[in-house]
């Protein structure tokens, strides 16, 4: 159909950008309808072309594309280019990003219909789609960093979309700065890549790993560290910021201050998974450093378990899902650490669908409830919002890993893979991901029961106005619910265990945990079926089931018990409700500390020492000396005569004294 695939790729990124420009710069001219048509058309074109690319690369098995679009600059013999690498990994990401983005665009028509910033919002989300596509389609570190920061910018703009809300503009500053901490590491990692590989082009870097593999560098004198390990950990610090891993996770819950559609798109489905994508992309580097992989795994495991636990005590519907996102990102990170890149990216994909679904479902509930987000004021919404209820149920079932649903296949692959991993930290990670299953089921169904079942706790006015939102809201829910059910079944064989990613992902034979897992199902014609049949004999299934049962018991059967537990275990509750104190710590130590350092440096060093003491001091000294000198010029003869005598005596003394 297309002669030149590069043109297709260029249009995939340009279409949303043009949509963003029309909606943003000409929002007044084209009006609300014009703005959403432009943005949606742009993203729809990107989606359709992405499907075409997916067919071309994945189904027809075309050669991966790697080419430059233009040269950004040439300095010192290094070419920095803007270009695309399109293989099965990027093709899959492109489809996921554009599909979820398209759903969110349509949904936004309904969600933002009363908002003054309608055009601005469409402009931002289309711009986000452009940035995210630049990130996943990049063939080099420079463009990756460009996309990386650009999605961060749009995230900043969108979290602070309602700029009058003090919490929103606090949250967006926080998000940007925490991400910048990650980017700090990331940029140093890129600098290290350039130094040791002489290029920022992925292909060149991956082809030269053997030359760098045994090199060491000493950052601290007399300490030799493997270059690859340093590079991987620095790059991963970037991923920790963007994909919200402990301790750089603090921005994500606060990002819920933004409108719900972007919580679904940016802070659940796509942007936050950029770190996961990046590490998977860098698998040829990470594979060479067990230290880095262990580091990745431990961070991921900690995030998966401990962030999930915070979801248990939240009452804001969006925050529960936000902590769930943190926890699921932790799962993906654990998988990366276990070298199960395929499973990580697979979970990234399934999670994108069902988590976007859950967020958009929560958004539908929030509209219906007149922007009430407190779950304690909800309940029994099932009969008022049947479509939202049903699709949210599907999303929850997918999230907790119900056999047959998308999340089951991806999460079970991860758990099994971690179980087979032998690198340091694997047993801790295995425990964490297993415990996480119970926690996930518990908070998910706590939310589900509190919102859709049980007593109707809202006030009469709200209740009388409850109704399902319009089709632009429910259609995306339905369209996202479909892949949340089937996508896992369809792709588990190829993505997690098969050769879907081909050369895009590299795994050393001794790290091939997914291969080990696949051996368990050797002989089965379909791993998907074998996994489902096998699942009832495994721990995760029963952990999830007991999580649901516990949620049912605590929030349906005996709703009085949670309060009792809260009192009994008040210490634990306090720790959880304070989110382990990260926020307070950062606020006091980092934010407060920096401000204090700034003040001290300025007041005492710049103003007092340099200005007052040195500069004005020397000026004053000059003034003071001249004052004394001026005093001596009295104009009276006797003063001068006296001065002459003193001078004469002085001179005599000088000449006579040495003679003695």
């Amino acid at each position: 159909m297309f002669e030149d695939m590069q043109t297709v790729y260029i249009w995939i990124v340009l279409a949303p950008l043009i949509g963003a420009i029309i909606a943003g710069l000409f929002g007044k001219v084209v009006g609300r309808t014009g703005a959403h048509i432009a943005a949606i058309a742009g993203v729809a074109i990107a989606f359709i072309l992405s499907l075409y690319v997916f067919k071309d690369i994945v189904i027809d098995g075309a050669q991966a594309f790697n080419g430059a679009v233009y040269t950004w600059l040439v300095s010192d013999g290094v070419r920095f280019e803007v270009g695309f690498l399109i293989d099965s990994l990027s093709a899959m990401m492109m489809v996921v990003v554009t599909f979820v983005s398209l759903m969110v665009h349509i949904y936004t028509i309904g969600y933002m219909k009363d908002d003054d910033g309608y055009q601005r919002f469409f402009s931002y989300i289309a711009l986000f789609t452009f940035s995210m596509l630049m990130l996943v389609m990049s063939n080099n570190f420079l463009q990756l960093f460009f996309g990386w920061e650009a999605v961060g910018l749009v995230s900043y703009l969108l979290i602070g979309f309602w700029y009058k809300k003090p919490t929103a503009i606090y949250a967006n500053l926080k998000a940007f700065l925490v991400n910048r901490v990650g980017d700090f590491g990331f940029l140093l990692g890129i600098a290290a890549v350039l130094m040791y590989f002489g290029s920022l082009d992925y292909a060149t870097v991956f082809n030269n790993v053997d030359k760098v593999n045994n090199l060491t560098m000493s950052i601290i004198p007399n300490q030799d560290w493997s270059v690859i390990t340093v590079i991987c950990i620095l790059l991963f610090i970037g991923a920790m910021g963007k994909s919200a891993q402990i301790p750089l996770h603090v921005w994500l819950p606060d990002s819920m201050e933004g409108p719900t559609p972007i919580s679904a798109l940016i802070h659940a489905a796509t942007m936050v998974t950029a770190g996961i994508y990046m590490v998977a992309r860098m698998s040829p580097l990470f594979e060479l450093s067990t230290t880095a992989l262990s580091f990745v795994m431990v961070i991921g495991a900690t995030t998966a378990l401990f962030m999930g636990m915070l979801g248990l005590v939240q009452n804001d519907i969006k925050r529960v899902i936000a902590y769930s996102t943190l926890s699921q990102l932790g799962y993906m990170t654990v998988a990366l650490g276990a070298s199960a890149y395929g499973a990580a990216v697979f979970h990234l994909m399934t999670h994108a669908f069902f988590k976007a679904l859950l967020f958009l479902g929560a958004g539908a509930v929030i509209i219906a409830m007149h922007h009430e987000q407190d779950m304690r004021k909800m309940g029994g919404l099932r009969k008022y919002l049947p479509i939202t209820w049903f699709t949210s149920m599907i999303g929850s079932l997918a999230l907790i890993g119900t056999p047959g649903f998308a999340g089951f296949f991806s999460k079970d692959s991860i758990i099994e893979a971690v179980g087979h991993s032998t690198i340091p930290g694997a047993s801790y990670a295995y425990f964490a991901v297993l415990a996480g299953v119970f926690i996930t089921a518990l908070y998910s169904f706590r939310l589900y029961f509190m919102v859709f079942h049980g007593k109707e706790r809202m006030d009469e006015h709200t209740r009388s106005h409850l109704h399902e939102p319009s089709w632009v809201v429910t259609l995306p829910l339905i369209l996202l619910a479909i892949p949340s059910v089937v996508i896992g079944y369809l792709y588990v064989d190829s993505m997690a265990f098969g050769n879907f990613f081909g050369d895009a992902i590299f795994v050393l034979p001794q790290h091939d945990v997914l291969g080990e897992v696949a051996k368990m199902f050797a002989g089965a014609s379909s791993i998907a079926w074998a996994m489902m049949l096998h699942s009832v004999f495994t721990l995760p299934f029963w952990l999830a089931a007991s999580g649901v049962a516990t949620a049912w018991f605590l929030y349906m059967k005996r709703p009085d018990i949670p309060a009792v537990i809260q009192q009994r275990f008040s210490l634990i509750y306090t720790i959880l409700i304070n989110k382990y104190g990260f926020d307070r710590f950062n606020e006091i130590v980092f934010a407060g500390g920096s401000r204090a350092i700034g003040k001290i440096c300025w007041r005492y060093f710049d103003v007092k020492l340099i200005d007052t003491f040195v500069i004005n001091g020397s000026a004053k000294t000059v003034g003071w000396v001249s004052l004394i000198l001026r005093r001596m010029q009295t104009g009276y003869l006797y003063t001068y005569a006296f001065a002459m005598i003193v001078g004469l005596c002085g001179l005599l003394l000088i000449f006579v004294y040495p003679l003695k």
Binding site: L73, V74, G77, A191, L194, G198, W602, I610
Partner: protein, 506 residues
């Protein structure tokens, strides 16, 4: 077609003569005539400077557009002009920024309009003269003469504390320049001419080099300004009118940096190499320490002034990491990137600081306050303006896609090759720079309308939007496609590097 024109003389003297003509329009009754004439002269000068780019030969590293006329034959002083890939972009930056400044001051300056406009035109010619001079005497004349119009601009159209600021500004910079004069005279006497390129080739022993290096350092460090001789800048900015701040930040600071490239590095390469630790330390202090100081500022102009000092730290860092790189790796890979990154940073900072100071000016004209606390929620009443300011703030924080990223990125990449810790401290700007810039944006632009004054604000007018759009376009263009900029400077930088790495001691 322009090759046979004395282009450099034209871009130097057109604005100076134009400025004198503008002065002749006299009183404020003829303000309009003065303004129109100034605008025409500045645009003509800008157009005249364009052939310097279009006719520039990017393949060679020797001086181009050279003009040489004997001036004072007895001392072998020549009116000698010429440019290479390092000075050419700076000249274009100067002629471009002057147009911006003229438009920026259009309605704002109400008293002594002709004198104000003339000062900027004359200043433009003098600054271009500094960049184009190849004779040390010519250079020094332009260098000192340039102070006078700036002194006048701050002193007459400045804020309430302008006298303190002007005197501080003048004494600081003059103090530094005197040492430079001594060094130049020494070099001239020794080498027998004031030819700067002759200085480059002139052999000096290490002790002399170090003395000369320090003399130059005093002059240039004050101008840039480098820590700890930077405290004149925040005061000068706070008191200067918007146009003065723009020129100060966009061009004048670059003169110091340019001095390092034209004098310190090539004339005293061995001293530069042996004192690089000092320069790198001062640069990193500028980046980190000044970044924290910026965080503590309550006055927007002071904040941006400190941010300028911090960004200029990248420039000096880029210049002086080359020796560490050369020591590590004889092939010098990465050294040119440091210097090129530093020059890109100079150009980019010209646009971004101009834009930031202009933004503050736009708000100041309406509110008559620069205190962050007097603002809040400006976006509610000035949405178009706020969109621009967020863009420039992001550029100031080094967001990729804006020109602010390019130079910092290149310098950090290069610094990593010199030493991990150089890159580490330099990269801290990613966090600190974003913190002070965006925190200011949060307090000034975002939030609910803070007070009645903000409530009554009117959005940017056509003239302001014109200036903002031109600057935004430039910032984005060089962020997305910096290649042309690097292309013109690359042979000259390579040439400079080779020269600097050639020790003068044997």
């Amino acid at each position: 077609m322009f090759m046979d024109w004395p282009l450099l003389s034209l871009v130097i003297w057109t604005p100076i003569i134009g400025g004198i003509l503008v002065l002749a329009t006299g009183s404020d009754k003829n303000a309009m005539e003065a303004k129109v004439l100034t605008l025409v002269v500045s645009i003509v000068t800008f157009l005249l400077s364009l052939p310097l780019y279009t006719d520039f030969n990017t393949q060679i590293s020797t001086m181009q557009f050279v003009e040489k006329i004997a001036w004072i034959e007895r001392f072998n002083i020549n009116y000698h002009l010429g440019i290479d890939g390092i000075s050419m972009p700076l000249i274009l930056l100067t002629s471009f920024t002057t147009v911006i400044v003229v438009i920026a001051g259009w309605e704002v300056i109400k008293t002594r309009v002709a004198q104000y406009m003339a000062a900027f035109l004359i200043m433009e010619g003098l600054m271009i003269g500094v960049f184009a001079a190849l004779d040390a005497a010519v250079f020094y004349v332009f260098w000192e003469a340039m102070l006078i119009p700036m002194f006048i601009v701050i002193g007459i159209w400045g804020g309430p504390n302008r006298v303190y600021a002007t005197i501080k500004f003048f004494l600081y910079t003059f103090f530094g320049s005197v040492f430079m004069l001594v060094a130049l005279l020494y070099l001239a006497v020794q080498s027998g001419s004031f030819d700067i390129l002759g200085f480059h080739a002139f052999k000096l022993d290490l002790a002399t080099q170090i003395l000369i290096f320090i003399a130059f350092l005093l002059a240039f460090a004050v101008k840039i300004p480098m820590f700890p001789v930077h405290t004149w800048l925040p005061d000068a900015h706070v008191e200067a009118p918007t146009g003065g701040s723009i020129i100060l930040a966009a061009i004048m600071l670059k003169l110091g940096a340019y001095g390092f490239l034209r004098f310190s590095l090539p004339i005293t390469p061995d001293a530069s190499a042996s004192l690089d630790w000092l320069m790198i330390t001062l640069s990193l202090i500028a980046v980190v320490y000044i970044g924290f100081v910026a965080l503590a500022q309550q006055d927007m102009k002071k904040l941006i002034a400190y941010s300028s000092i911090s960004h200029m730290g990248f420039v000096t860092l880029g210049f002086f990491i080359i020796f560490a790189i050369a020591q590590k790796d004889a092939s010098m890979a990465g050294a040119a990137m440091g210097i090129e990154g530093a020059i890109v940073q100079m150009i980019s900072h010209g646009f971004i600081s101009a834009a930031m100071f202009f933004c503050v000016g736009v708000m100041y004209d309406r509110m008559h306050s620069r205190q962050i606390n007097d603002y809040g929620g400006v976006v509610n009443t000035m949405p178009v303006f706020a969109a621009f300011m967020v863009l420039f703030a992001m550029a100031n924080a080094g967001l990729p896609g804006t020109s602010g990223f390019v130079g910092e990125f290149m310098v950090i990449l290069s610094a990593f090759k010199a030493n991990f810790w150089y890159a580490f401290f330099a990269a801290l700007t990613l966090i600190v720079g974003a913190a002070y810039t965006l925190w200011m944006v949060k307090r000034v632009l975002f939030g609910d309308v803070a007070n009645e004054k903000v409530e009554k604000l009117t959005d940017a007018n056509g003239r302001e939007i014109l200036v903002l759009s031109i600057l935004a376009g430039t910032v984005l263009f060089f962020g997305i496609y910096p290649a042309p900029l690097i292309e013109v400077m690359s042979p000259s930088v390579e040439n400079l590097l080779q020269h600097v790495m050639q020790s003068k001691l044997n």
